[in-house]
Symmetry: C2
Subunit: 207 residues, 2 copies
C-alpha cells in the first residue's frame, strides 16, 4: 500500500508516520519510484503497536525504540522473555536513590519477592520503581497503605499465572514477544482503569 | 524554616521550588523580610506530594494542579471522594474516540461495570481509558488477552475493598483526601511494579 493508505488505515497523521520512519521505529517501505515506497500489513501492525505504546502505555519515543529492538531481535534479550518485559518498563531514573530512606524501601521491595520465592533478576527495574513508590508513601506519612503490600504481591502473582500462560500459547516466538510487550503495557492500562472504577464503586458504598 | 531548609529537607532543587511557588502549586510562605519568607511542615508535605505525583505518578504539572485543587477544596468535588479519584487520572485525550471500533470498546468497558452492579459515574474517565486499551488490543490482534477482563474486574474489586476501608479510617476529611490521592497514584505504581515482578517470576517457571 502507499503511505497515504497507511495513514488512512492507521489514523496516524502523515508527518508522524514520516517521523517514525526517520527515527527508524518504522522500517522503510519497498521503493517503487523516486519518491514512493510500498508498505504492507506488517507496517500497519507496527504503526499500531507504536501508537499503543506511546498513547496508552505512556512510553517515550526512546522507550518505544528499546521495546521494538527487543521485538525484532529477541535473541539479544537472553533465554527467556524476562528481558523484554523489563525493557518495556523503562522510566526516567529518579534523582536520589542513594539516601538511607530509599535504600530501606529497596530492602522492603526485595523482601516481598524473596518471601514468595520469586525467581526474578535481583536488579530488575521494577524493584527500583517499587522502592520509589514505597519511599514516597513513607515520606508522605502514608505508611499504613503499605500494610497492603503482601496482598498486592499475592494478587499480582495470581494474575500473572493466566497472563503468562496465555502468552505462551502463541504459535511462534515473534507472536509471544509481541504479546508480552502489548500485554505488559496495555494489560497494565486495562487493570489500572478497572481499579479506578472499582475504587469508585467501593467508595460509593461507604458514602 | 527558610527556603534553603525546605530545599535541603525535600531534596527538591531551589529553581524547582521557586517554579512551584510561581505556578501556585506550593502556597507562598509567610513574609519575614524584603526577600525572605518562612515555610512550615505543611509546605514540606505539599512539596513531597507534588514530587510523588510527578515523578512516580507521572502526572503533568497541570494534572498536579487539578489534584491539589481537589485536596485544598474537597467541597468542590461533590458529596463523596469519587470526584477526587477521577481528577487524579487526567490524561491527554486520544485522537479519535468517535470510530466504531472505539465505541464498541467503550460498550465492552461499560458492560464490565454493569455486570457487577458497580456504582460508578457513567462518564468516569476510567471508562474511556479502558476503552482506549481494549480498542488497541483488538487493533493489534491481541483479542485473546481480553478474555482476562472479567478476572481483572473481579480482582480489582477485591483489592478496592481494603484500600477504601483503609482510607476512610483517616481521622479527618483532609487526611482522607490526601490518602485517596496518594493511594490512587502511588498505589498504582506499587501494584504495577509488583505485577511486573510476578510476571517475570511466572515466565521463569515456564522457561
Amino acid at each position: 500500500m502507499r503511505i497515504s493508505e497507511l495513514v488512512e488505515r492507521s489514523g496516524v497523521p502523515l508527518p508522524t508516520v514520516k517521523y517514525y520512519l526517520r527515527e527508524g521505529l518504522l522500517p522503510p517501505g519497498t521503493p517503487t519510484g523516486r519518491n514512493q515506497a510500498a508498505y504492507d500489513e506488517g507496517h500497519l501492525q507496527r504503526l499500531r503497536m507504536i501508537r499503543a505504546l506511546i498513547e496508552i502505555g505512556g512510553l517515550p519515543v526512546s522507550g518505544v525504540r528499546d521495546v521494538l529492538r527487543a521485538v525484532d531481535d529477541p535473541g539479544q534479550m537472553g533465554h527467556d522473555l524476562r528481558g523484554i518485559a523489563h525493557c518495556t518498563v523503562a522510566r526516567p531514573v529518579r534523582g536520589d536513590r542513594t539516601s538511607p530512606s530509599w535504600q530501606a524501601a529497596r530492602v522492603t521491595a526485595a523482601a516481598l519477592a524473596a518471601e514468595r520465592g520469586w525467581h526474578v533478576h535481583p536488579e530488575a527495574p521494577a524493584f527500583d520503581q517499587l522502592a520509589d513508590a514505597i519511599e514516597a508513601l513513607r515520606g508522605l506519612g502514608q505508611d499504613d497503605l503499605l500494610t497492603l503490600l503482601p496482598l498486592y504481591a499475592d494478587t499480582a502473582d495470581e494474575l500473572a499465572k493466566p497472563e503468562v500462560a496465555m502468552v505462551t500459547r502463541r504459535p511462534d516466538r515473534a507472536g509471544m514477544v509481541e504479546a508480552v510487550v502489548t500485554g505488559t503495557v496495555l494489560g497494565e492500562a486495562v487493570f489500572n482503569a478497572l481499579r479506578r472504577l472499582a475504587q469508585e464503586h467501593q467508595s460509593s458504598l461507604l458514602a
